[in-house]
């Protein structure tokens, strides 16, 4: 099993200077942008993207071409690149921003042309200061060459790009929260409907919000074809995908592969196995929001649909491996604490629920757990996401609250004895 390099090819072949415009251009860079601006009409570009069957790489997996297709008509429309990558376990957009910023900018040019947009924003999380500096440098180089600004590539089209730095809020990865943040507001997700920013987005104008990896795929699709792209991977999960592998593996990193192999193969081939030859107790298939799989489920295929059928999600493509010695109560506590900290506070079930989950896990971990705590944890979870089903039922504006339920149901589903072993068999003094 090998990597298939589309998005990470240029950076691999030119490790020292893949971020410079001259090097990017020497390697066929900006030819896709040049071509569409000269030869195509916007409809043709959208058809090409639809043909590729690419689905959004941010986590939700929405078909990109369809999203582009229903951007509402308006004089003023915007493109916003979601580079707020903050799902624990995920660091794939970081490599695209740091090491191949021009590929993203070229994707932005093509996307903006296809959707008749003349202003784009790249929203990058504040903790990615260095990647943001690289992107800003690249944007300035592109302006100097006339690829951004007025009359780009002498096409008569204008396109301005602004790099905007976030300020440390996971929730701004949720597209409507991101738009609020970009408007200079608190990063609170907006009430739906309208369901899509493509109807009412930034400043209430039609807005495309796309992930860094999604838009970075656009130049390859144009240089080759949507059909070629759709031949890679498997039906429903076409093309390549950059998976971030971390946790107890010998060789963590970003690996670009065609979707379809099993998690076990992926972990063995690219992660070079588990540290100290231990076995896998559990792993997270798609970022901290995703329910865990156990070490006996390593044969599940890495596609959006296979993972969904098995009761989790491929999400942001972040695989976190936990070996046999991992204390899963502490692992769950870490994830729950994350969501408690990142809850925006708008919806009661999430704001209160995540905090309660954190407090209960904290007391179990510190040896003060009660036998009733397991039921209490599940009861709080049920109040956040009734029925504890997958995909989760929602009582909140966005999926952050239900995400905090995932580690608890995973823990109770397959590792309940680990929690029980921490609880007193008898409660001597009943404080309740």
């Amino acid at each position: 099993m090998k990597e298939t390099l589309l998005l990470t090819k240029h950076m691999r072949e030119n490790p020292q200077d893949s971020h410079l415009i001259d090097i990017y251009e020497k390697n066929n860079g900006y030819n896709a942008a040049r071509k569409v601006l000269k030869e195509n009409n916007p409809g043709e570009v959208i058809e090409e993207i639809k043909d590729s069957n690419i689905r959004g790489r941010g986590g939700a997996g929405f078909p990109t071409g369809v999203k582009w297709g229903f951007l509402a008509e308006d004089q003023e429309r915007y493109l916003v690149i979601n580079g707020d990558e903050s799902e624990p376990g995920t660091f794939k957009d970081r490599i695209l921003l740091e090491r191949d910023p021009h590929q993203l900018i070229e994707g932005i040019i093509v996307t903006s042309f296809a959707s008749n947009i003349s202003k784009a924003f790249i929203y990058i999380r504040g903790e990615y200061a260095k990647p943001a500096r690289r992107v800003q440098d690249a944007v300035e180089q592109a302006y100097e060459k006339g690829y951004l600004g007025k009359n780009i590539f002498n096409s008569g089209k204008d396109l301005d790009v602004v790099v905007h730095l976030g300020a440390g809020a996971y929730i701004c990865g949720e597209e409507t929260a991101l738009l609020n943040s970009l408007e200079g507001r608190r990063g609170e997700p907006r009430l739906k409907p309208p369901y899509f920013p493509a109807v009412k987005g930034l400043y209430n104008k039609p807005t495309l919000v796309n992930n860094v990896e999604t838009i970075s795929s656009v130049p390859w699709i144009i240089n080759n074809s949507g059909k070629d792209y759709s031949k890679l991977g498997v039906e429903g999960s076409t093309g390549t995908r950059i998976f971030s592998l971390s946790g107890h593996v010998n060789n963590p990193g970003n690996f670009e592969i065609e979707m379809g192999c099993s998690f076990g193969e992926f972990i063995d081939t690219f992660g070079k196995g588990i540290k100290d030859n231990k076995s896998v107790k559990a792993y997270i298939p798609g970022g901290a929001s995703a329910p865990w799989f156990t070490g006996s489920q390593l044969d599940i295929k890495m596609t959006i649909d296979d993972v969904a059928d098995a009761g989790s999600m491929l999400g942001s493509g972040a695989v976190v491996v936990m070996d046999e010695d991992t204390n899963l109560v502490l692992a769950a506590k870490s994830i729950v604490s994350f969501f408690a900290h990142e809850s925006c506070g708008q919806c009661t079930p999430c704001r209160e629920g995540t905090t309660w989950l954190e407090m209960i896990l904290d007391r179990i971990a510190s040896g003060r757990g009660r036998t009733s705590d397991i039921d209490l944890l599940l009861d709080v979870c049920d109040n956040i996401s009734p029925g504890l089903a997958w995909p989760p039922k929602m009582t909140t504006i966005c999926p952050l609250g239900p995400s905090a339920v995932s580690p608890i149901t995973s823990l109770m589903g397959s590792f309940r004895d680990e929690v029980e072993s921490l609880l007193p068999k008898k409660v001597l003094i009943n404080n309740e």
Partner: protein, 203 residues
């Protein structure tokens, strides 16, 4: 201190990048952070005037995001990640060592304003866990011992510009991916180093 004409000019330049003034609020808050080490009262007033929103609106946004500091920070902001990949790769011990060296609890600043210490959520360095940021410059694969050396270096050498690559070479280990490109850019304040807000510096 109120903002001098040069800073106001910079602020107006930033405001000009956006179709609506209020979008510049985030970057302007970073200007305040760069200048004072936190979002001070005078900056709130200046920003409110520049953008045309109330002071309460400015504060409401400033207090929402963890990177805008409500209290003065030290020269070096040490942020240690404790999210899942770091948690299972021993970030706990890194945190304990830094706490012991600095004598600080979470979100505290020491008396001579050298260090502010904070435990943070995922900083996107999961392949290089455990990871630490100094003034938002990432160092990956920081062992508990290396964390102590890093603190000692900052305290004794007092570097003006914090550069991720330099810290990585001296105090880092396993990386999320090959950084490859030589880079001497960084920041000299507790605002992230970024050209648009004028905080990016070269060593």
């Amino acid at each position: 201190m109120s903002w001098d004409p040069k800073l106001i000019e910079k602020a107006n330049e930033i405001i000009g990048l956006y179709p609506q003034k209020r979008s510049a609020l985030g970057p302007l808050l970073y200007l305040a952070q760069e200048k004072e080490g936190y979002i001070d009262e005078e900056s709130v007033q200046e920003i409110s005037k520049l953008i045309g929103i109330t002071e309460v609106q400015v504060k409401s946004v400033a207090s929402f995001y963890t990177m805008y500091k409500q209290e003065p920070t030290g020269q070096y902001l040490l942020s240690v990640c404790k999210s899942i990949s770091c948690e299972i790769n021993n970030s706990r011990e890194v945190i304990n060592n830094i706490k012991e060296f600095t004598g600080l609890a979470n979100n505290e600043t020491d008396e001579d304003n050298t260090f502010t210490f904070e435990e943070v959520e995922c900083i996107g360095a999961c392949g290089g866990a455990p990871a630490v940021q100094v003034n938002y410059e990432t160092v990956e694969g920081v062992t508990p011992t290396k964390a102590l050396e890093l603190c000692k270096y900052l305290k004794e050498e007092v570097p003006k510009v914090i550069v991720a690559d330099e810290l990585q070479e001296n105090f880092g280990g396993t990386k999320s991916f090959d950084w490859a490109i030589e880079d001497n850019s960084g920041t000299s304040s507790t605002a992230p180093g970024f050209q648009i807000i004028g905080t990016a510096e070269e060593k």
